[in-house]
Symmetry: C2
Subunit: 243 residues, 2 copies
């Protein structure tokens, strides 16, 4: 079996914790990682507090292959992600020559004031992540990819990052939807899960247009098993609906 | 100053980590907690793995006043939240008489099969959280509120829970939106933050209809300071737009 690559995501964002903003970045990153054959094993939403950012990064650095962060890389006083990541890895924050020249080209030398130059301050040893939307770059240091919080920018950065990641076997997913309740399918579905050790089977109830139903989701990197197991589930559903 | 109450939320959900589902529960809980005067200090999205659920609950039990979980309380094989919470608190899982009679009344004694009865299995000592949508209850044990993952059910449970929580001073929030960039406001906004220690000021850039702008959000439980600080921010914005 090929190595399984793991990832964690850290959303740095008081605005998510206060309920002001609905996060959309986790879902985007999660879907990209599936395409890359990387398993997202945990997400944390943490406040804009340096000590918390530092300790969270250090903890994940030991646990997973990749860390992704979103938020806190703009020019204002509450943007402390770059400094916190530098601290987590015990390096200084310095003005990055390439980042500075990108910002200079964008703003013009005359308009590149001290505040905008804050966005060129990158941990020593980090490589830049391009930002085609508003230029100020993200960066990668060790296994940690530091991206913007604005979804449009984060998505562009993640698209770039995804093209550089090394992943394992891609997890395929198949879904069977049916207007049955979980109580009805629970026992036979448990038996199918018992039969197929290579497959992760989840069931997710839904309400739609007044109808109660369930999505049965099968996920596996073993495509042949997946096709056979999905047949088992379809047969089970047909049998239950037919009775 | 009154005690500040803190909370953590644990989203138990492979379907969120795999990108299949966009989480909506964190935002709902976050907003309810603001109304209750409780500070949401961290959110974790973790997989449906017993050891991870147990250790996460134990860690937060020491750190925060309230823990909220969503997901994993249905009747299928992947619904392991109740058993995991029981294990975290070192108690048994048992058939809860009241939960059983609720399910009996809903399904009728004849249709209350063993699978459905799984949803009446609650950690010893827990109290029920009503589920007006589909009856199977959530529960609270120690400081931990265990709720469903389906947003409509989770919201109904959270509405009930919120009415029972003890909170501190409610955090008020005011927002100033303007078509300025963060680079322009960063320095004067930093000075306003320096002046008002009782206020948490965040700035959140946005793109809307092709215009780049920023939302400046001020949050505080000290209403008088908040009104004065919002005047400072408005004056700053007027000054910058006027120039």
């Amino acid at each position: 079996m090929s190595k399984q690559y793991s990832a964690a995501m850290i959303v740095i964002g008081n605005e998510i914790l206060s309920g002001r903003t609905q996060d959309l970045n986790v879902n985007y990153v999660a879907n990209k990682l599936v395409e890359c054959g990387v398993v997202l094993s945990e997400v944390r939403v943490i406040p804009d507090i340096e000590d918390v950012i530092v300790s969270t990064i250090r903890e994940f650095n030991d646990k997973v292959d990749y860390i992704f962060t979103s938020g806190g890389i703009g020019p204002t006083h509450d943007d402390i992600t770059a400094a916190s990541v530098a601290k987590a890895y015990g390096v200084a924050l310095e003005e990055h020559a390439e980042a500075k020249s990108l910002l200079q080209a964008h703003y013009g030398a005359g308009d590149l004031n001290a505040v905008r130059l804050r966005m060129a301050r990158i941990p020593v040893g980090a490589a830049l992540i391009p930002n085609p939307v508003s230029i100020a770059p993200g960066f990668v240091i060790e296994n940690t990819y530091v991206m913007a919080g604005v979804p449009r920018i984060m998505q562009a950065m993640m698209d770039h990052v995804a093209s550089t990641l090394k992943g394992g076997a891609v997890i395929q997913s198949r879904t069977v939807s049916c207007a049955l309740t979980e109580s009805i399918i629970a026992k036979p579905l448990g038996a199918i899960q018992g039969k197929w050790g290579s497959i992760d089977i989840g069931s997710y109830p839904y309400f739609k247009d007044g109808v109660l139903g369930v999505n049965i989701v099968l996920r596996s990197s073993v495509e042949n098993d997946l096709e056979q197991a999905i047949n088992d589930v379809s047969d089970m559903v047909d049998g239950l609906i037919g009775t």
